[in-house]
Symmetry: C3
Amino acid sequence: MKTDKLLYGVAYYDEYMPYDRIEKDMEMIAKAGMNVIRIAESTWSTWEPQEGVFDFTHLRRMLDASKKYGISVIIGTPTYAVPTWLVKKCPEILALTHDGQELYGHRQNMDITNPVYLHHAEIMIRKLMEYVKDEPHIIGYQLDNETKSYDTCTPYAQAKFAEYIKGQFPDIEDFNHEFGLDYWSNRINAWEDFPDVRGTINQSLAAEYCKFQRKLVTDFLTWQSDIITEYKRPEQFITHNFDFEWHDYSFGLQPEADQYAAAKCVTVAGGDIYHPSQDDLTGKEITCCGNILRGLKNNGNYFILETEAQGNQAWLPYPGQLRLQAYSHIANGSNCVMYWHWHSIHNAIESYWKGVLSHDLAENETYRECVSIGNDWKRIGSHLNNLKKTNKIAIVANNEALTGLIQFPARTKDAYGYNRVLRRLADTLMELNIEYDIIPADEDLLTGYDCIILPAFYSAKESYLKALDSYVQNGGNLITAYKSAFSDEYLKIYSDTQPHILNKTLGIHYDQFTYPNKVTVTYNGKTSEAAEWMEMVCCDTAKPLAQYEHHTWGRYTAVAFNTYGKGHTLYLATLLDTSILKELLTGFFKECQLKESAKLPFEAAYPVAVKQGVNDDGHHILYFLNYSKDTQTARNLAGTATELLTEKKIASGESITLGAWEVAILEFDN
Amino acid sequence: MKTDKLLYGVAYYDEYMPYDRIEKDMEMIAKAGMNVIRIAESTWSTWEPQEGVFDFTHLRRMLDASKKYGISVIIGTPTYAVPTWLVKKCPEILALTHDGQELYGHRQNMDITNPVYLHHAEIMIRKLMEYVKDEPHIIGYQLDNETKSYDTCTPYAQAKFAEYIKGQFPDIEDFNHEFGLDYWSNRINAWEDFPDVRGTINQSLAAEYCKFQRKLVTDFLTWQSDIITEYKRPEQFITHNFDFEWHDYSFGLQPEADQYAAAKCVTVAGGDIYHPSQDDLTGKEITCCGNILRGLKNNGNYFILETEAQGNQAWLPYPGQLRLQAYSHIANGSNCVMYWHWHSIHNAIESYWKGVLSHDLAENETYRECVSIGNDWKRIGSHLNNLKKTNKIAIVANNEALTGLIQFPARTKDAYGYNRVLRRLADTLMELNIEYDIIPADEDLLTGYDCIILPAFYSAKESYLKALDSYVQNGGNLITAYKSAFSDEYLKIYSDTQPHILNKTLGIHYDQFTYPNKVTVTYNGKTSEAAEWMEMVCCDTAKPLAQYEHHTWGRYTAVAFNTYGKGHTLYLATLLDTSILKELLTGFFKECQLKESAKLPFEAAYPVAVKQGVNDDGHHILYFLNYSKDTQTARNLAGTATELLTEKKIASGESITLGAWEVAILEFDN
Amino acid sequence: MKTDKLLYGVAYYDEYMPYDRIEKDMEMIAKAGMNVIRIAESTWSTWEPQEGVFDFTHLRRMLDASKKYGISVIIGTPTYAVPTWLVKKCPEILALTHDGQELYGHRQNMDITNPVYLHHAEIMIRKLMEYVKDEPHIIGYQLDNETKSYDTCTPYAQAKFAEYIKGQFPDIEDFNHEFGLDYWSNRINAWEDFPDVRGTINQSLAAEYCKFQRKLVTDFLTWQSDIITEYKRPEQFITHNFDFEWHDYSFGLQPEADQYAAAKCVTVAGGDIYHPSQDDLTGKEITCCGNILRGLKNNGNYFILETEAQGNQAWLPYPGQLRLQAYSHIANGSNCVMYWHWHSIHNAIESYWKGVLSHDLAENETYRECVSIGNDWKRIGSHLNNLKKTNKIAIVANNEALTGLIQFPARTKDAYGYNRVLRRLADTLMELNIEYDIIPADEDLLTGYDCIILPAFYSAKESYLKALDSYVQNGGNLITAYKSAFSDEYLKIYSDTQPHILNKTLGIHYDQFTYPNKVTVTYNGKTSEAAEWMEMVCCDTAKPLAQYEHHTWGRYTAVAFNTYGKGHTLYLATLLDTSILKELLTGFFKECQLKESAKLPFEAAYPVAVKQGVNDDGHHILYFLNYSKDTQTARNLAGTATELLTEKKIASGESITLGAWEVAILEFDN
């Protein structure tokens, strides 16, 4: 979604303040050049202290004070944390999960299929909307927050699941066959016999339950969106705060929601990216998660509704890092940077998830860096807003494949299989300074790209595999990795030559695999350990680029290149290091004669990252972002430009020096 | 049990196939020289899809197709996985365990004392037996599979336990005294007060509950055996698939069944051995577990009813390994090798526990190695079948001692204490190329052996200790380790000089012990760290072979040799490495003038293992098995022989070269 | 409490004996010079085998036999382990905790607020007291044992908690505000809505529940004390066996009891100290825990009611260690050393927590060492008894701060934050051979000390902070560490300059902090890694003693010294090693001109520890304790003395040689 300016702001909670500070806070927010606050989310028990009793005092205060200081407002529905009286009234609202019965306390612990919960949530939302709908400076609404199914496995949810299965498989025999339920006597011979799915050892059933849970999320958000739509003005947006796989920071596709489906009910994709900092600030999480967000609404500009200010204890930013982060988001296509949250909280679980202000609520280093960012954006923001990006390489993100690799992991038995491979490939692109999109497994999207990268695409519909095959035949280029195209959409392993359908496209086949032990792979002088998985690949039409180096497995291929129709493919039969992947991808892009392999309009080597796009005025914008504490140099080769921060002219061929964590923004003369 | 030929085959499940392949599969099985399939186990929900509704379609297909291809059949009762309708009807069938209430899904989750379960299981077994009893090519029956009590702690099972205790201790005071229940106010002053045993901190009670649970297994299998016996023909065998302590592979005595008691109800002992592969294929697991199986029916030939084909991801065999494994089993006294399972499964938890065929159901490397094994056995199997082994050294395996070391572990707090010591001693024998039996703690079995090896024999009846004392006095030789003879059969620690009774036999005593820290032991130039446990042994009549090397504990003995009556003993007061144990055992056998210390009829050093026996024709058979990827040499010193695979003559004194993972089989002229 | 002699003895249980040994045991106890046994604790099921049926047979036997051998008796109430019949009668007696429902079996598993439990416990105590009250050789009573709340979270206990909160916050709005319950919709808008506290994510609430649970302990012990007081004779003492934070050994303040409050109801503080042994015997645990005990009754002499004899498997003492340990306790102010327990137990969970005697119940090395100690004490005990210690340095131990650091830990996410810092400082003092007190956070106690050491004093009342400020202003010296004075007594973080109030006292402030990564700190030639936490300290009036060594954080201060009023402060903004702390403390004491920095009346370097005091006759007593296996030398500079064990005269200036683990005791001529 386009916006009329860059949004810069914070989440704000008058109700959490230790004493009345609202005037002081709004004044400080405005002074920092911030222009938006996000409020109201998660405070149901304040708005409705007892059933049917509503109290919008704090809301009023925030609306009035923000209006006074010219600050726009995003209103979040407060539904993801339930009040105590509601749980007292109806304890079954708390979800039953694989880990047992939820207790009251943390957020996101309810059964989102529970009708009593939905009934009261609807009353709350409507009361709130009635109260705020005419406020002029509210620019949009956020539905709930980081919505998931919270693993609801209540009898109520499970009954819905049986219906959902029955809807797909009217004949119970087809269900038993497709899911392989004969195994270990797990057949369900009558719908009434449906057992508690929490105990299943059938991964097809477990994965389908995950898919069903993701559908609950989509249904829930759509339901909220429909309610909001009844009240909102046309110019107001609806968004949601989407999040990512959580590794104690954000990275990769969120396993517990189908964000592509869910995003249909919002106007603009929003999200929260939390990432390592200090010596570990790399820009890679911001880029990958941002690319996912940009893909949720068709390469549209997106909102960073939450990101770290001081963040948790390990993340206190070095001087310059907060600034670099803000520009990283904008350079990636975000139109908005908002911090979680304004002040540091004085009680409860997020007391050490620090905001812009510290607990003393005074100006500090972090606030001062915000002031410099916000005031620069007042000056140059119109050059940066609505950045249009046009990438020709896309990585496919897919929940079914991700769930498949959780159910049937490679060697490492965690939940990160799919995103591990995705990350290895995404980081390689980032280190090559090649920008990429992230897209869903949608056949219609393929043709827009010169190269499609499929991480371990374990669970794959036949129709999509056929589309990939056509794509390559017609000149597309495909990079894919081990375990791809191995099972169908219900996690039933394909019973013919693997990889299913793609074996012809890739020019290879295999029927055995193992974990690598002391196996290496060498290409172009770089050697990598083979990790996680190795397939005993035989090349049919493909050309082996590297064999396994091992006393016994040397006759099998680790990396294969194929020419197929007018296109090309690269197959990675094991997990390799970024260093060798850089060689392999560079070689592949060259062989495919991709634009990315041509001479680029800059000279910059990562940790200086380059991000580009076209602004509202049609000017080419190029960012140099120095993700390091050391001084770096980068060189402009794209013509005459103005460095927007310094307002200096940069000639073509001229070098720029970047200090620790520094950014330079080149706007080119057209 | 003797068989008329070597059995070679697979577990087969028509009901799991993604499409109709039964003709193709049977043809391929027959082509591989396989002659037996095992079917029907674990498929209750297919045979009885609803209560009282029976459908034997798949069974019929398998019986017909196997008959057509001349393949024999073993029928397994399907009772270890319950159908969904039965759990729907009676949820209490699912066991309550130390970990809480079982959910439906995995196998082996039921309360085997539940009368509703037993009622329906009996109906299922009888229906099945009526259906199959006249099929001519069924050669035998398998009772259930890897039966255990699944830790059933239901109120029903616990009431039976209270009765069981009362049966042993009519006077509740005796029970309180023997179990030491005064401690921490745990007295049970009336049978009605019996508390939930799951919370006990009294190891005597916990261990007795384990013993009771093992008895449930024996009772259950005996009950099944009695039913089968009503139907089976005299020439048909009854077997069970016994398994072993699970370390992600099989090793050592199974803690959750008393296999010696349970084996009384079968005709022939069967078992499944899964073991590491690739660089970790050592033959040690096959040997130790096979020796346990051979001991279950008095040194009888046994069946490997399941072992890995491709196995799990880490176990894909190197070329030659599947072959070496098959011969390892046969050389150890098995008459049968069957793979789990024919094909790789396309859904559910064992999708990556791969069979002979991969998921594409086509010929592959593994299948081709099976073909070579199966067809060789057609040619030479009659020379190998019913191998009679006569070992003079036995290791004692005992469930009570094993449970004792789970309840009162040495330093490492896992479940493997007893088998850890057993393995150290068993591996030492294997590396010395000395074959051994594994026997129960049965007084009557002692006299058959020159040397008895007792691993950490923690829980020991007085009568058995006295028998051991007599055995040594009368010329037997005894090797035993720390913690032996420390408590009685109820885990009450003996309150006189330790080791109880054996202190005289061993010529030592001790009253203190600790964990070793930086303590070493040296013997014959080999130094080992002392691990796990160290007793402060004082020698009475014994001769110290090694003292502890430590700044303070040096005055105590680590290894003691004693001459007692006509026999000898070796006491190991700490856990030592295999390298020093090889020196100690070699020295001990020499001192005792055991046959094993005499010049052996071969020259071969492990990783070339030697296994011997006498075949049906009375010929001496000697195997050389190369458990390594490197070429090795071994030398025949036992007279003129024929190498059966190559049909070459081997003169006495002649050397044989063995390639990677290769086997040679010498049949000696008589 | 003063005693007329050193008490030396064991816990004794006639009821646990495998056979009748009471005469033999008492004879051996007496022969060892022991003069006291502790009996009756934890044996409720023996005294009251069925409801209302009492049987004191074993008690009678112990009373009679001990009397015969001149051995005094301490009677423990048996209430911390409930009989089976009581749980059968009323299963709700077993606590519901954060981990779920307790099962019968282990001790300390009951809800100490349950009225049925309290009813029966009172009957038991009164019956016992009636039975024993006239026995002349009973010298005192122990209330229960190591009492805690056992995390009771029953509905009964939680209802009491809601009342307790209401008592503090009559206006529920004040409660919501102080606890910050607006956050994540956790408001409690009516007392009836109080949710199950077990699920809370509000650390203020969680911490207050911990405080409430500690209060339950105080209430329970006071209730028992009141009952005992009805029966006991004036000369009989009441004690309790207090324990410490458990790290598989004892160290630091016990988190689950407020021992300062609870100790009000006893005559003399008792406790149990278990500590590492062999190469890890350092005296540090004995010193720190003993100092806590001494502080419970105002620097009074205390009782070691339990300590290890042989202890667990890792702790078998080296020769001389048991002796060194006994003197370490006495030198620290204990008047009593009693072993847990007399004999090693033959069944159940503490079978390997070995007593004086081993399982064979015969004389052993440990017993023989007891004999030497006991008989020495008969000879010289009157010189050692009632040692009066006068320390001028005190460490503050505080449960609220400790709970605060459990709720909001530094980097290491365990429960040991507060005690980790306390230990680092306490060990530093011990290695400097400076004795210290441990005191509660009581304003009235400050003035007695030259120097107060506050470990990470996270949760701090304003009044105490103000008192500390005055203390320094008036000439006191204060050492404190990171995270101190950060939140109030309800874990609400202070919203002004940190450290709250103390920022002036310390002459510093900070508003940001992080985890240290590759950060070092150097002082006086010693370099330490910064660990756990680092605050970005700016010095106002303070003088930085060391800055962080790091590429970015170098402008902030790690250690700051301040002169404030007539006093001085030292602030540690990160966790440093003992080696650098020794330099810092030595420097600080010198700067403050503390007595401890003056020339000491001995030359001895740790591992030779020095402990001093004044005995009943007013003589100065000085111990040299060699905590090492190596021979050490120490030198007397305090005048002419007698070494009490050898009865040798030691001139001033004379050196003493101490063998492995040896002790020397100098009594100085006055």
